[in-house]
Symmetry: C2
Subunit: 407 residues, 2 copies
């Protein structure tokens, strides 16, 4: 075992041609320019803006604050366009995001993943920067751990109790005894800031009516939880709900103070299958290059595999299975009336088969042809890229850093 030298020559050169800063040289180039590397993650600026405005408008119509979930893009540039003020409010999914957005001036955040006791020291460190970072938990055990930490360290950490409205994942049932016990267990610097839920089962809805019902279930559940806490004498300033489907289709958020949503900044094929977006709304895509063909199978081989597109196959259980994504031309227009999907991927290869009756032929795609793939799921697709390229009319207008990792 040689520990020496492992990191000795770590440098931008050894790590890549482009870091987010050197990639600024891509601004002004067409997505068809050979200097633009593939695979790259593209964001259509006009679609992004329309999506951001739609979410803000929905929140305004519903009369609640909008606390966007920044996990989809993890970029301060997009966050600033998405949030109602440069200081927030916002939602994050990792402490890495919390630290990054804090360093970029965001001051009101909820870290919306149940807290582990070991992470409290880092939460306190970020809060000491003057950031109101709130945490969530869903048990007496966790409430005691946070209270113990705050007492031992003489610090304050605001806590939202996570509520389970649909059996999706985490949270306390609105009617359970432990809800009140957990609130009581918040002592010393661990203060109850509110309640929070996520109607995650809205992702499984088969109709808009079902999403509307999920939204009402989300609202009713959290309002019930808040009501029981208030009846027991607790103040509950924040009543937070959210998922992209319920934000888009909720009829009322009476009793709710704020709504969170993430993927609606980009949308994707999963959301399109769900009826929450249209294909034309999808702002994020992967730029790829044709690197080969298999004539006997009528197949093209692309340089975008599952690292570039993620292994997400969420559309496999929906009304249309898009494989690993919908194939478009370099301008983002679906090929052959949207009939062509990326059916297979290996780590760095994508494979698409032209339908036998397609108007397109393999010869229409010379080696080096650039295509765009609309992804099944925006969040895991965007995450591994070193930077994201903001595009307008086929020209790169900005290069966006985004944060990654967990610590």
């Amino acid at each position: 075992m040689n520990n020496c030298g492992a990191l000795a020559i770590l440098s931008p050169e050894s790590l890549g041609k482009f870091a987010p800063d050197t990639a600024q040289s891509l601004i002004g180039l067409s997505v068809n320019d050979p200097r633009v590397p593939t695979p790259s993650f593209l964001i259509e600026d006009e679609k992004l803006e329309k999506n951001l405005e739609r979410a803000r408008t929905r929140a305004r119509e519903l009369g609640v604050a909008f606390r966007p979930h920044l996990k989809t893009h993890k970029s301060i540039v997009i966050a600033r366009r998405q949030m109602t003020s440069p200081e927030g409010p916002a939602t994050v999914s990792t402490l890495s995001e919390a630290r990054y957005f804090a360093a970029n001036g965001v001051k009101d955040m909820i870290y919306a993943v149940g807290i582990a006791p070991q992470k409290l020291a880092e939460v306190a460190r970020i809060r000491a920067l003057g950031v109101d970072l709130k945490i969530i938990l869903d048990s007496v055990e966790a409430a005691k751990a946070v209270s113990d930490f705050c007492r031992e360290h003489g610090t304050e950490i605001p806590v939202l109790l996570e509520i389970d409205v649909d059996g999706h994942r985490s949270g306390l049932a609105p009617e359970c005894d432990e809800l009140l016990q957990a609130a009581k267990a918040l002592q010393d610097g661990a203060g109850l800031a509110g309640v929070l839920t996520h109607a995650g089962d809205s992702y499984e809805c088969k109709s808009i009516e079902a999403i509307i019902a999920a939204a009402e279930g989300e609202r009713a559940g959290i309002v019930k939880a808040a009501g029981r806490l208030r009846a027991a004498g607790f103040e509950v300033p924040i009543v937070s709900v959210g998922s992209s489907p319920t934000l888009m289709h909720s009829k009322s958020e009476s009793g709710v103070t704020e709504i969170r949503a993430g993927v609606c900044a980009f949308f994707d094929l999963f959301m399109t299958n769900l009826g929450v977006s249209k294909k034309e709304d999808i702002a994020g895509s992967v730029l790829a290059t044709v690197i080969g063909r298999q004539t006997t199978k009528n197949q093209l081989i692309l340089d975008s595999g599952f690292l570039a597109l993620s292994r997400d196959r969420g559309t496999a259980r929906q009304k249309r299975d898009y494989g690993y994504g919908l194939v478009c031309d370099a301008a983002g227009e679906p090929l052959d009336d949207g009939r062509i999907i990326l059916a297979g991927t290996n780590q760095e290869h994508g494979i698409l088969t032209l339908p036998g009756d397609s108007s397109l032929k393999l010869e229409d795609f010379p080696l080096g042809t650039r295509l765009r793939i609309l992804p099944n799921h925006a969040c895991p697709t965007a995450a591994p890229y070193k930077y994201m390229l903001l595009v307008r009319n086929g020209i790169i207008i900005d290069v966006l850093e985004h944060v990654r990792g967990w610590d």
Copy 2:
């Protein structure tokens, strides 16, 4: 649109608590130490060494050179332990890997993804560093593009013709006319260095006998292609085959000069289902923390979701479906005789259900308990981490950088 400020305050602090260099402070800590963040990617040093030695031994027994595929770990420290010399030979899947390993002294590499013409400038730039980086292609069109590039730039690029032995993905059929045409189309600085194939369909085999047959098909196909080229007057110095299943089970590599393999450095649940490895051989795992429980559903919630474990569900079509991974204790021992899997994930949440007849109860997992998850597929799981932690007897003995991205 505000382009300014996007990258202005990009700094280690804004990007995370630990970069690969600052994470060196984790060396010497137990994986149970709260300072070790979760999720983290762990590599068991002894299992890694055994796996590396097994692959080298197999290649030696088969009488061929070993050219490991570095895409699984993308780490120079592991590459140096894996390669037969510090200078190679090696295989890479991105130009980012090629540049990184070149900067770290590796001099003999094959970039084993069909070349796109736009990438030739970067190939030439890396070769100009004194590195023998070879490329692959599978068409006359690509051969002409490389020849044109070499002529225009007065440079040399060695080329291997990719051969398709099993209809898996890319490549020229050993018996096709285009094989000889492509060789003839290599002109000027574009020189034929050999032939290369990957028996990717060996991943779909249902028995060891089927893998043995796939290995023989791989060998026979490439030898046939090399023979036809030689009969036509071409020199074919490199005859390269490889996949982890065929390396492990091949009976003969007569006529082959080298073998490539990647995932056999770590192994994973997919390879275990295939019969190529045992659970005890799996060297890579994800360290996670219990952050909640759902008593009515007998579920634990972990802080490792699909970004930490990848969306890879390859085991879903195999003899045992492991969900998103096999759950082990912090020492890496499968819980409850290997019966507990991570059945569900969201972006940052993992969900496991204890079987009703399990010897384990939710109370055995207090908040903050650390667990390890063996992944379905090592390569996409390891890729997104900022660094990987090398572990021996539960103690972190090294922090490994690895390269990411494509450009």
